[in-house]
Symmetry: C2
Amino acid sequence: MSQVNRRWLLVEHPVGRLDPSHFTLHEEKIRELGEGEILIRNIYLSLDPTNRLWADARESYMPPVETGEVMRGLIIGVVEESRNPAIKEGDIVQGILGWEEYVISDGTNVSVIPYDGAVPLSAFFGLFSHTGLAAYFGLEDIGKPKEGETLVVSAAAGAVGSVAGQIGKIKGCRVVGIAGTDEKCRWIRDDLGFDASINYKTESVQDSLKEHCPDGIDIYFDAVGGKILDAVLAQINFKARIAICGMISQYNSSEPVPGPYNFINILYKSARVEGFIVLNYAERFGEGINDLVRWYSEGKLKYHIDIVDGLENAPTALNKLFKGTNTGKLIVKVSEEPSI
Amino acid sequence: MSQVNRRWLLVEHPVGRLDPSHFTLHEEKIRELGEGEILIRNIYLSLDPTNRLWADARESYMPPVETGEVMRGLIIGVVEESRNPAIKEGDIVQGILGWEEYVISDGTNVSVIPYDGAVPLSAFFGLFSHTGLAAYFGLEDIGKPKEGETLVVSAAAGAVGSVAGQIGKIKGCRVVGIAGTDEKCRWIRDDLGFDASINYKTESVQDSLKEHCPDGIDIYFDAVGGKILDAVLAQINFKARIAICGMISQYNSSEPVPGPYNFINILYKSARVEGFIVLNYAERFGEGINDLVRWYSEGKLKYHIDIVDGLENAPTALNKLFKGTNTGKLIVKVSEEPSI
């Protein structure tokens, strides 16, 4: 094997925003496979706000990526060579691997996707993978939506929020989405069927929540934290449920950030705030995928993929998530999809 | 009826700490009972941190007491006269009524205590009423203790915390209590059986938690909020449960108070924070009382009552809760217990 693999290595833990200076694009020859190993050609790399946490020097819910190591990322790839009897050449696999073109695995850290070409391969990252499942389990298991309740979703035009809001509609909730541009607001309202939208950059979130949630807020699906969480806490109903999927507003902060000023409303309203990561639900992924696929085939779920071309653009592209310049699921196309 | 009733009326909503200047002791004649009414002679008045919230101008989980109204309080009393067929003279009743010597009720806002003299009447406020039940349901329903887990309790020598910690021991947890004097710490450790104690006024809570919770914190039963909650959040385990029973550290604050700086650990640790008030569990009180009575009769639950004599001392006595100068359940003796 004389092929070359390009890999983004972390050279410095960021303080504040990540940028290309924290990485170096390293080239190295791909070694021969050992017994039981597979060679994966990465096709799509998922960019997620949580990547910023992984690059930090501080531990979050996973150990940080160490400097000198390849940057961690969720990828979909195709098996180009296999010396593992359980996985064959041509299989499409998914796993938390790295920001690189190729990766050698012993098969334990990947799962085979039963891909039949019925939907674009990129749809897996749009609906049928971690982001769709995060929306599904966060809403089902923590939000516990009941018909007629009011659900508010932050980062509502993002990969997770856009799905959470649509599931809220499927469950019969009034759904109000918060996003950062009029175009995103239009998309979630007109294309995804949200009942109302709030542009947090041009509107008073507090006032607009009052207007669009006349019966108060029963469920909040949050990926943002910070001031928007505070505004929501001020208007929650008795026994409200708040699913914390992320706190993107503070991932780049190097200073301690205070919690919400309306924290005491958790007491006053007998509310529940619960954090989660999608991996907590690994044993129930099948259940989630089944529902997501069914809803998609019934036309009840839509998605949008924002594709950035080329592994070399990954470090710059990640900041689209923090600048709010992407809509839907942000992915990097590392190489071509195989023809099915 | 020519008897006189003394009543504490709220004359001004407090900003900061409550003191006697916010009340006036008003005297008025007791009127004749109407059809269906009962006259209750109050025996014990429960003083609870939540009384401070009721006196505030801002709404908490209940509407505030208005100025000119009698101050709201939980009382135990004896029925001296009844024109209600469901309640007879001599019955012992309990209800959220007022800071006064007598009260006329139509019977809908009181419940009859099946009192047989087996325990002192004051024990109801120590164990078998709202504080014992708050400890019981907060721990059972939100804390969900499992054998071998570590439970931390704040205000651990208080009415609720002292019971919550003992129930934690019954459930097989390692129990660490946080209190404000060495005497309180000794009491919860040596008399109540807590595994360890932390005097937050003389120790670093952060360091002492590290020492006494070598396996991290699985459950936190909190009545305090503020810096102690923050210290606990820094050391919670994956899937920790935090039951918020109160936030006494900020009831007297007139300025907005930030939430905990370690709020993001709710996300990192997939933790759950849930507020509650004991009234949420009203339909299950019987279940709670049964367990509490059984554990008490088995010698597994102890309580301490701090009795202040005389209704006239209620406004001053309430501040013992905020100064931390009471141990166990603080009550005011308004009049003599009837002999059984």
